[in-house]
């Protein structure tokens, strides 16, 4: 800005300087030239008159160095010259002014010096006696005048330069200052040059456009963050260089990272070989999958390549927490192994007995013992298979018809059916309480009460008792089975509802349970939308409370 203003100021100054120089020089030069010529002519007239009257005496007496006077005889011989010796001068007959004067009475001519820096003007006049008096004066030409004026011109130019520099600086500052102080955030609130208002208007428009777009972007980002933030699965987006572009909360939790991992390599989150291999695979084949264990939990990582215009733009990593699944898988495997084991044990006992009988190794009096054993083991098998079937029915969640069930009545019936088994173990069983009716599948409720009561009888001590109590509490039905049995140590209490879990592994045979009773209870209660509470003290007994909603 300053530079341009400076340049134009200098140009203007130079142009003005040049123009005024030309004009002034031209005018003044011609004016002074005319004045000088007239003066010269007058002087010539005067000198001529004087010479006519006084002759060469006048010329001799004249004392002037500015004007050169030459008296030339008719034949061109110089008679007198006030600036040079007349004798040494050449014949002037050929000179233009002389010839003109000799012929016409007056003559004039102009001659330039060799360097063109000086010009000499000659005026000649014929005197009455035929001689010619010539007057001449040297003066500067226009060129030499200009050259001699060069230093003042340069001085002026220098002054002009300095002045224009100062001016340019000032002007540009005055122009730019308001521009610098423009409030571009609120372009329309500026009070400045009118010429700027279209620009400011435009800026304002673009401001609004940018604001709107930013708003939109923010909104989208927020939507994205919100959506991914509430995802249960972890999501990490990587760019083509495997840098984290975006990571949601679940993924941060899984990798134990925070926001600072964004724009860092994915390797800083998880550097295991499996993951880098899977990442490479995803980039090559489009999909990769791997498992990692972090902080005691198992995660499945699904990696997918993101393509854009045929190029790899990055990778999306989905992180699934599969701890529960893995646990479920493990317990399913354990269950299968347990079932096989539980089924095999009675069968082996049956086979052993049958083999002995087959080979005739059993004495007739022992025969009953062996066949009895076969029957018991077979019935154990049947009970076990029954339990497994019931459990798998519960697992599959087959719809069961709901009906009104009178719990107290059911409890009394159950207690009655178990009386004999209880009596064999010298255990007293009784059911009491208030009448509560619930709407539920009778079979499920029956399973719950039967299995709880059955367990209470089986794991009791001789002379002990089992109390089944039914009552209504806080709007739901409460079944409480209290025994005076062996109790469950605390460390086992959380696991007794698992399939085939036994507190005392050696005790299972004698008690005759299948190890599935409590598991069935748990499933049935879950199906009915109820809850179970178990309180037990080893050696004192166990109380199981089941709460069931009155209507499902």
């Amino acid at each position: 800005m300053t530079k341009r203003i400076f340049r134009s100021t200098v140009a203007v100054a130079a142009a003005v300087l040049a123009a005024s120089l030309v004009i002034i020089m031209g005018c003044l030069y011609s004016y002074f030239a005319t004045v000088q010529e007239n003066q010269l002519r007058d002087e010539l007239e005067l000198a001529a008159a004087a010479v006519e009257t006084q002759g060469s005496d006048y010329l001799e007496s004249l004392d002037t160095s500015r004007i050169r006077l030459t008296w030339i005889a008719q034949d061109g011989k110089v008679l007198f010259d006030n600036q040079a010796g007349a004798a040494s001068m050449e014949n002037h007959a050929g000179r233009e002014e002389f010839r003109e004067a000799a012929l016409a009475g007056v003559g004039e001519s102009t001659r330039y010096s060799d360097t063109l820096l000086q010009k000499t003007i000659y005026y000649a006049r014929r005197l009455d006696d035929g001689t010619v008096l010539r007057v001449s004066v040297s003066r500067m030409t226009l060129g030499s005048l200009t050259i001699s004026m060069l230093s003042p011109i340069l001085l002026v130019a220098a002054v002009a330069l300095v002045l224009s520099a100062a001016l340019a600086k000032r002007v540009s500052r005055r122009i730019v200052d308001p521009l610098n102080h423009l409030d571009l955030e609120n372009p329309l609130e500026n009070d400045t040059y009118d010429e700027l208002s279209p620009l400011l208007l435009r800026i304002n428009q673009q401001h609004r456009l940018i604001d709107a777009q930013m708003q939109q972007l923010r909104q989208r980002q927020e939507e994205f963050t919100q959506i991914t933030g509430s995802m249960k699965e972890g999501l990490v987006l990587l760019n083509a260089k495997d840098m984290v572009v975006s990571i949601n909360r679940a993924a941060m939790d899984a990798f134990g990272a925070d926001e600072s991992c964004v724009e860092k390599s994915f390797l800083t989150l998880e550097r295991s070989h499996e993951v880098s291999t899977a990442l490479r695979e995803a980039k090559q084949k489009g999909h990769g999958e791997t498992h990692i264990t972090r902080g005691g939990r198992e995660y499945q990582l699904d990696l997918s390549r993101i393509e854009s215009d045929g190029e790899v733009a990055g990778t999306a990593v989905l992180v699934f927490d599969i701890t529960e699944q893995a646990d479920a898988e493990r317990s399913r495997r354990e269950f299968t192994a347990n079932v096989s084991h539980e089924l095999k044990t009675p069968l082996q006992s049956i086979m052993g007995s049958a083999e002995l009988i087959e080979k005739g190794l059993v004495k007739p009096e022992d025969m009953q013992l062996f066949t009895g054993r076969i029957r018991t083991e077979a019935s154990r098998l049947v009970a076990l298979i029954d339990d497994i079937i019931r459990l798998s029915q519960l697992d599959e969640g087959a719809e069961l018809p709901c009906e009104e069930v009178e719990l107290l009545e059911l409890a009394k019936d159950t207690a009655h059916s178990l009386e004999q088994a209880a009596a064999e173990r010298w255990v007293q069983i009784k059911a009491a309480g208030e009448s509560v009716k619930i709407l539920a599948p009778r079979r499920l409720v029956g399973e719950i009460v039967y299995n709880l009561a059955d367990n209470a009888v089986k794991y009791n001590r001789p002379g002990g008792s089992v109390d089944v109590e039914v009552r209504e509490e806080d709007g739901s039905a409460l079944i409480r089975v209290q025994d005076t049995g062996i109790g469950i140590p605390e460390e086992h209490q959380s696991r007794v509802f698992e399939r085939f879990y036994r507190v005392d592994k050696s005790h299972s045979r004698s008690s005759g349970g299948t190890g599935l009773g409590l598991s069935i209870v748990k499933h049935a209660v879950a199906r009915l939308g109820g809850s179970i509470k178990l309180t037990s003290y080893p050696g004192e007994g166990t109380a199981v409370e089941v709460r069931l909603p009155k209507a499902k």
């Binding site: 260089k241 495997d242 390599s265 390797l267 800083t268 550097r271 295991s272 880098s276």
Partner: protein, 216 residues
């Protein structure tokens, strides 16, 4: 120019992490193979070690390229020179993991006090390697300093194992070969601890400009 440089530095960083991860894995695998006497597991260490060697060459040429083409200064230069030193240590860890894995068949079916101690020592050494790599990833100088301090723990294990091996040699001279094998493994683990310490000190150097061991 600078952005390309940054990219290359990032690449170097990623490759170093990857190489560190490979070291962690190979030593963990080797230890598992050794303690379980599992030859199949041990055979998987060899390709890992080869991969580590390849990574070393790759990183080395990347570092030299960076040094020649970009003429880095200050922190960048420190990172690159630290990287050049770290890969040597990492490569040695890979070699030692391979050596340990080679011992696995001779330990099959053994379950004695010395091998149990070797297990503990291996865990300590692996943790040192893992933590030194983590220190590099997170540029965590305090973790690096902690790793440097833990070198004494591994050295202590070595001394104790050596002592009990001497006793074993006296009481059961026929077990001589086995005893020497265990001693070798202990020595390898002790070396791995040293290399992890070196890595940790290079981490400190690349971050602060002061070599880890100088400060310690």
């Amino acid at each position: 120019m600078r952005s390309r440089f940054d990219q290359q530095l990032q690449e170097l960083n990623s490759k170093l992490i990857e190489m560190g991860a490979l070291c962690e894995e190979s030593i963990a695998l080797a230890a598992k193979a050794l303690l379980g006497g599992d030859g199949e597991l041990a055979s998987r260490v060899v390709p890992l070690s080869r991969e580590i060697n390849n990574m070393e060459r790759e990183i080395e040429s990347l570092c030299l390229k960076l040094l020649l083409q970009q003429q880095p200064v200050a922190g960048d230069l420190r990172l690159i020179s630290a990287a050049l030193r770290m890969i040597t240590d990492m490569e040695r860890i890979g070699d030692q993991a391979e050596d340990i894995a080679e011992m696995a068949p001779f330990m099959a079916g053994r379950e004695d006090r010395e091998l149990g101690r070797i297990g503990e020592m291996a865990r300590a050494a692996i943790a040192m390697v893992t933590d030194s790599v983590t220190a590099f990833v997170d540029r965590d100088t305090s973790l690096a300093a902690e790793v440097i301090g833990r070198d004494d723990v591994v050295d202590g294990y070595f001394a104790r194992i050596k002592q009990s091996l001497i006793e074993a040699l006296v009481s059961k001279p026929q077990e001589g070969e086995y005893v020497l094998d265990v001693l070798m493994v202990a020595k390898y683990l002790e070396r791995i601890g040293d290399h992890a310490t070196n890595i940790a000190s290079w981490v400190v150097y690349s971050v602060t400009g002061v070599h880890g061991e100088e400060k310690a």
